[in-house]
């Protein structure tokens, strides 16, 4: 009986992922084709795809490999791009932590933006743990399959795309589109502006270290500036309040 509901949840997860494939497929095609354009052989591209299982980190690595950035910078950047997975890890920790290692680790590897998007919504949170788990496994495994197949498609197509099409420009455009989608609060716009300006100013620093400087400056600006502006606004409010209180007490005294 229970087995039946779990299987139903698994297929429900798979079905819910299907509409998202329209976004995954072109992204995978871009990831595969750009690897070919960089001169990597198909085994290396697919090895990278399996090891990363993270499209934006893969594109970031391509961009830096293309620019001839040093090993350490590519490594740090690619992992930092994936730090958002820590949020997903924390979100699903109560659900996944009680599992055995041979179940927990493969599911952790399969965590992705799409899994988070589908499985962390209130509708899912209301289900029992077992149902949530099987729904998540359904989403995660079908996401993995569609990503890998899309990249294979991109590798197959890649060789037939002429260089005059400037396919490599799809990488910064993809990041730009993701950036626009990321900016949901004013502070995000502030962070990306500071970071972008710094990245342009410091792009001549050796070993692409300007990139790291820009990211750190952007995040620090995002952490400090809103607080700074808020305390200034608060203190000016307080001043006004103090003044009005003073006048109140004065008028009381006068009375």
């Amino acid at each position: 009986m229970q087995f039946c509901t779990y299987r139903a949840q698994y297929w429900q997860g798979t079905r819910d992922l299907l509409p998202l494939v329209s976004g995954v497929l072109p992204f995978g095609l871009i990831a595969g084709a750009n690897g070919v354009a960089l001169g990597m052989n198909p085994e290396t591209i697919m090895g990278m795809t399996l090891l990363f299982f993270a499209g934006s980190a893969q594109l970031a690595a391509y961009q830096l490999i293309q620019e001839g950035a040093p090993f350490v910078i590519i490594l740090v950047t690619s992992v930092v791009v994936n730090l958002r997975f820590a949020i997903y890890s924390a979100t699903f920790a109560p659900l996944l932590a009680p599992l055995k290692k041979h179940q927990r680790w493969p599911i952790a590897y399969l965590l992705s933006d799409q899994v988070y998007g589908l499985c962390a919504i209130p509708d899912q949170m209301a289900k029992s743990d077992g149902e949530r788990l099987w729904y998540l496994i359904g989403v995660a495994t079908s996401m993995w399959l569609s990503w890998i197949l899309s990249v294979i498609g991109g590798v197959a197509l890649g060789a037939s795309i002429p260089a005059a099409w400037s396919l490599e420009f799809t990488i910064p455009l993809a990041f730009l589109a993701m950036l626009v989608a990321t900016i949901t609060r004013p502070v995000m716009l502030l962070v990306s502006t500071v970071s972008g300006v710094c990245a342009v100013l410091f792009q001549l620093l050796p070993y692409n270290s300007g990139f790291i400087v820009a990211v750190v400056t952007g995040v620090i600006a995002g952490l400090l500036l809103p607080n700074f502006l808020l305390t200034r606004a608060l203190s000016s409010n307080k001043l006004k309040q103090n003044k009005s209180e003073q006048t109140k007490t004065q008028t009381q005294e006068d009375n």
Binding site: S22, G23, P26, N41, M48, L51, F52, F53, A60, A61, I65, E67, L75, T77, V79, V80, N82, R84, F85, A86, I87, S89, A90, A93, A97, R104, W105, A108, Y109, W165, S166, F169, T170, I171, P172, L173, A174, F175, L176, A177, L179, A181, T182, I183, V187, S192, T193, V194, S195, G196, A199, V200, Q203, F211, A214, V215, G218, V219, G222, L223
Partner: protein, 111 residues
């Protein structure tokens, strides 16, 4: 970069990414405070990283050392931003930007 160092890079990044994914699942129970403290920084990282990656390579055409402004690329980027504000997918903004780039380059050749 040669194939061997590429593989080394990919294996280390793959392992690092896996550890990030595993982090809070493995440490569950002992990390609520750390998480609360780092949540703010983790939320600000994506916009900072995405902007730092894409903005220089949009403004300037490569090879990077010459630092030539590229008007066609900037126009393509503006098209991408405009489409991205209306479309929830990442795909259509890229297509729109690329079409804009191709048309402008073609016009540049013709005129």
């Amino acid at each position: 970069m040669d194939t061997l160092s590429l593989w080394l890079l990919f294996i280390i990044v793959g392992l690092g990414t896996f550890l990030v994914r595993l982090s809070f699942i493995e440490l569950h129970g002992s990390t609520q405070k750390l998480l609360e403290r780092s949540r703010n920084i983790l939320a600000l990282l994506p916009p900072a990283i995405l902007a730092a990656i894409c903005i220089p390579s949009i403004l300037f055409s490569r090879p990077a050392l010459e630092f030539q402004w590229d008007i066609t690329q900037i126009a393509a980027a503006i098209a991408t931003v405009l489409i991205a504000r209306f479309s929830r997918s990442v795909f259509w903004p890229i297509v729109g930007g690329m079409v804009c780039l191709w048309v402008l380059r073609w016009l540049g050749k013709v005129l």
